[in-house]
Symmetry: C2
Subunit: 654 residues, 2 copies
């Protein structure tokens, strides 16, 4: 963006009421004169600011040829009052630890946010009009390419659960009284993720969290279920334990009072339910259907109707100084070490390694979806109760809270069953857009869990996590490998995923061995190897057994432990292909999107490919023991050995 | 399962009070004597039945060595009363159109369901004890392998939204007064999907839907947020417009009255909130933590404490006769036809084709997530308003309702943006376990949508949908192809997915061409072709332009339209590989899990592979025009041509 036109401290900042009867062009910032002024704006000034935001939203969308100006216009007065009277934010220091946070959950109303930035003096009129243009950080929906945007929005219903994560961080970790303001639309109140957050926020008594609902009664294709029935929303929020305030969202004085009431309410979060009109201020579109998500039909007339371009600049209040909290003294614990040959489940090693990581890094936090006893996150919770968070059975909230805590500088590990992470797929996808390097662990992977059956089996998680932009996907086969990978996850730049297993398996590696991300381990090899079996997790053990079986029959096979599924060890796979000509992948996962696909993708630059054979879970499992499940899926030692024999016998491989 | 021990009509059915002071083994069904009896059970008989269900749950889990008996025991009295006094169900005719439906949303309490089946006389004691054994349909969590289970459960929070779909089918499609009974746990009330359903059910006035909440206050790893505070649940449900009844869940008389009140309540759904004790009846485990999801420590003593094995058999009421509703007369409309060369978006063709399909098939229903104007589902809604369902912005409910309607025999097409289908990933995964062949359409695929930015772009949907068991994944590039594929989706045995595009593109194919599932189309080919470009959707058009560019430079390339991403046309890919040696995939999707992986998977049987090069979306897009987006992602015509030139110039390809 351009340089800042106003100093960070802005003791001299002004309120030059730049009203004009007609558009005056994109005049920019006005002149900052050192007027004496009231600490707060007068009612008519607030109303003027609201009109400025509308005008700017209309102009931005007109310049872009797309966008959602009418959705911005309904919330303009709410945003004006928030910026002028409530938000405490140092635009020069977006990382100021005392800053309030504003999340525009209705991300499609992005022109409103950018109009706020112009009013705050951090972008100018020319920059505003780059909205939605190639290369502009003023994207169609807000992303952290702008320094004042903490998390991307645009998938509705995510702002509040992310705000819960931030507010929890403020309350229990930072212990700084910043406020989280979430501005959402009425349509998105239908998303279940909102109600997961509503419950969590009340339960955790997040009184520094305020939800502002812009009840403009019109969704994308027509009216919402509740229309302008503010009471309907209030009854629900109240029943969950929230304080609620109903208000005319275009009465700036009433809005001002409502926000003050929210800020003054202790012991529970507040929702300000604001009755508004979509497209407010322009008769041609106001409260009319058919104008969602498009520029106004006659933007110049609309700007005129709204009173023209203004250059009001708001002196946004700075956050109060924050006293650095003394760092919680850490009591470093040794990372777990396991003896080769002992039977240990990787989920157990995960829990112990995470607890150990937390003992040397105070920024590590652990988030549980009411399965901490199964995923073993409970080990962390026992060691670091102050940094353990319980979200009950609400996986969307679980992952969204991780995003919020990451935005506040923490390193969250969020864990549930691999199968149930699918519940939060959209939050994970959006976390990548938010550049939020959260760490996820999915336990109970694959058919190997045994009798619980397919509803509990993570069989699609590798496909889901590989396709996340910038993700790292790890799948350890033993306890020491797990412990090492957990340490490495703390260094990842993007989203990390660790897949753990329910059942115990023998420890294969020593406690001091290193497992770099992007690597692999050759566990068996000989000169006459005819196939390389590429396995990970539970299938590594099956592959080793198969190699023993085949060695007895004089057939040599290599076994490669592909613990890093993404990035994948291209070099090792190429070497294995060169040496044995044929690769056989074996995975406790669906055939699509997992290890087979990852291995194939290593040969995607036009070089000759090896022969590939894939063993994966191709049927719908029922209940059975783990050993039976692996056999039925055709990924146990016998199946691997049989497949190799078939290839060798058919002389398909040399 | 074994043969039925009791006739379907059972006019002679009995209530042989098989109480015994100590375990009597797995005695089976008792003797069916033709006693005269009251039409309803006496209080003490109901209580005895509850004890029988507990005993059977304990025995089943003990025989399995795993399972969740304590979760079954808390709900046993609720289930007993339901079976004996409320459920109208013909176990001989699970497809009886008048049958009530029972969904055990807390699927881990499956032994309770199987104990009900024994009490109903449709499985015997020996069968009960096959619980969780290899090959037994009595799986760890219920699946439709049992004829009386409509939908799989086990991923919490899905029963109610599926029940909403069934109840809507009853109310608006079947117009048969069957009741939907959903038994759920208190822990799962934290899932947002439950609240999406709570809102939908009240809004739609689904008075034939009853939610029974087994409030045993204990989750998996400890107490729930609300404990036994029934009022907390009641306030919330009431605020959404439900009728609620609070009851002691072990007082069978009170439960009986509560269910009767639910059945008699008109105009809104009813929730029966039942205070219960986990592990009820066995002091060692009752209301104690640490006994979730495991067999009782001393099952034989427990059975004794519960009064021993009983052989009570319940004469389940048959549904009232259903008068066949005259089929709604259809007014067949011609499927849409598009002229080659016209510019038409595939989303437009989808809407028109779906409307046409609905005009010849009365079982087709369309479900919208408040984006019908964008996805073009609105075309169906206009043509067939009685079969169009609006779920507002609640994608989990959207897909779960499709599962419920499918279970009632309809063919649902559920549609939203491809990006937002990720919100329902868990519901889609579970739909496969439910064997529910729902059809999904995701619009606004890829970076080609343009300025709206990454939050709105489906870039991971192919990966998600390919990994769904038994799925079909289709991605048309023109309007006539889309229309043909929509017709074919109606014939798919499993879950189908159609990916559509926002922008218009030229019609390439004639209106009478056929596009079989699993096929592909060779759009360009010549003798000297050096590379085959494999494209789908928007990249087909880019590939054709690239082929023109390259032809000008004397470089021949084939263009293959891979409209069927799963199953993939192995034969055509092999032929292309034979002919040109090198395949280049080009996709408007992340590099993982999509077309590149699908093409590679076609060469997974050990045969030699072609050289593969993959172009895909490897960066995080911002806002830009569609053309700019395709260029930035490196998947436009120029990028394809440049990549081919590089390969040819480097002599990587012949």
């Amino acid at each position: 963006m351009g340089t800042r036109g106003v100093s960070g401290r802005r003791p001299e900042a002004v309120f030059p009421l730049g009203r004009a009867g007609s558009p005056r062009g994109d005049g920019g910032r006005g002149t900052a004169a050192a007027d004496e002024r009231e600490p707060t704006m007068r009612t008519e000034e607030l109303a003027e600011l609201g009109q400025q935001l509308r005008v700017d939203a209309v102009r931005a969308a007109a310049a872009a040829g797309s966008g959602h100006p009418t959705s911005a216009m309904s919330a303009a007065d709410l945003a004006a009052v928030l910026l002028a009277h409530q938000l405490r934010y140092d635009f020069d220091r977006p990382d100021h630890p005392g800053n309030d946070r504003l999340i525009l959950s209705k991300g499609h109303a992005s022109p409103l946010l950018y109009a706020l930035y112009r009013a705050a003096g951090v972008i100018d009129g020319a920059e505003l009009l780059t909205f939605r243009h190639d290369g502009s950080p003023l994207e169609g929906h807000p992303t952290p390419r702008l320094p004042w945007v903490d998390v991307a929005t645009g998938s509705l219903g995510q702002g509040l659960p992310i705000g819960v994560g931030m507010a929890l961080a403020g309350q229990r970790l930072d212990r700084v009284p910043y406020r989280i303001w979430v501005l959402c639309g009425d349509s998105e109140m239908a998303e279940g993720s909102v109600w997961e957050a509503v419950e969590a926020a009340a339960y955790e008594k997040l009184d520094h969290l305020t939800l502002i609902v812009d009840v403009n009664r019109l969704g994308q294709r027509g009216p919402t279920r509740e229309g302008w029935d503010l009471d309907a929303y209030a009854r629900r929020l109240d029943a969950f334990g929230w304080h609620t305030v109903e208000v005319d969202g275009h009465d700036v004085e009433a809005v001002d009072a409502a926000f003050a009431e929210a800020a003054a309410t202790a012991g529970r979060p507040t929702a300000v339910l604001a009755r508004t009109r979509k497209g407010r201020g322009v008769a041609e579109v106001e409260d009319r259907e058919g104008f969602h998500g498009k520029p106004l039909p006659h933007p110049e007339q609309a700007v005129e109707e709204l009173g023209g371009v203004r250059d009001i600049r708001v002196d946004v209040a700075l956050p109060p100084p924050v006293t650095a909290r003394p760092a919680t003294p850490l009591r470093p614990a040794e990372p777990p070490r396991y003896r080769i040959g002992d039977e240990v489940a990787t989920r157990d090693a995960f829990g112990e390694a995470l607890a150990a990581l937390g003992s040397v890094r105070g920024d590590v936090v652990a988030l549980d979806g009411e399965v901490g006893d199964s995923t073993r996150t409970e080990a962390f919770a026992r060691a670091h109760p102050d940094r353990a968070f319980e979200f009950y059975i609400a996986e969307q909230q679980l992952v969204a809270a991780a995003v919020g805590m990451r935005a506040r500088g923490y390193l969250p590990f969020a864990t549930t069953f691999a199968a149930f992470l699918t519940r939060a797929h959209d939050m994970i996808r959006m976390a990548a857009v938010s550049e939020a390097g959260i760490q996820l662990c999915g336990s109970h992977a694959g058919v190997a869990i045994g009798p619980d059956g397919p509803s509990q089996m993570g069989l699609e998680d590798l496909a889901m996590m590989r396709a996340v932009h910038g993700s790292t996907v790890l799948y350890p086969c033993d306890a020491n490998q797990t412990a090492d990978l957990v340490r490495r996850m703390a260094q990842l730049p993007g989203i990390g995923y660790l897949r753990t297993s329910r059942g115990a398996g023998p420890v294969l590696y020593g406690p001091d061995e290193a497992f770099p991300v992007g690597g692999s381990r050759l566990l068996r090899s000989g000169d006459g190897d005819r196939v390389t079996v590429v396995a990970a997790g539970v299938t590594v053990h099956e592959a080793l057994k198969a190699a023993d079986l085949l060695a007895g029959a004089g057939i040599g096979v290599r076994v490669l432990d592909l613990y890093s599924v993404k990035p994948v060890d291209t070099e090792a796979l190429e070497a294995a292909a060169d040496a044995t000509g044929c690769l056989m992948t074996v995975e406790d996962h669906r055939p699509e999107g997992g290890i087979g696909d990852a291995v194939a993708s290593a040969f995607a630059d036009g070089r000759p490919l090896p022969r590939l054979v894939r063993l994966a879970v191709r049927t719908m499992p029922g209940s059975a023991t783990p050993a039976e499940q692996l056999a039925h899926a055709g990924i146990d030692a016998d199946s691997i050995a049989a497949a190799v024999r078939l290839l060798v016998g058919a002389a398909v491989v040399r």
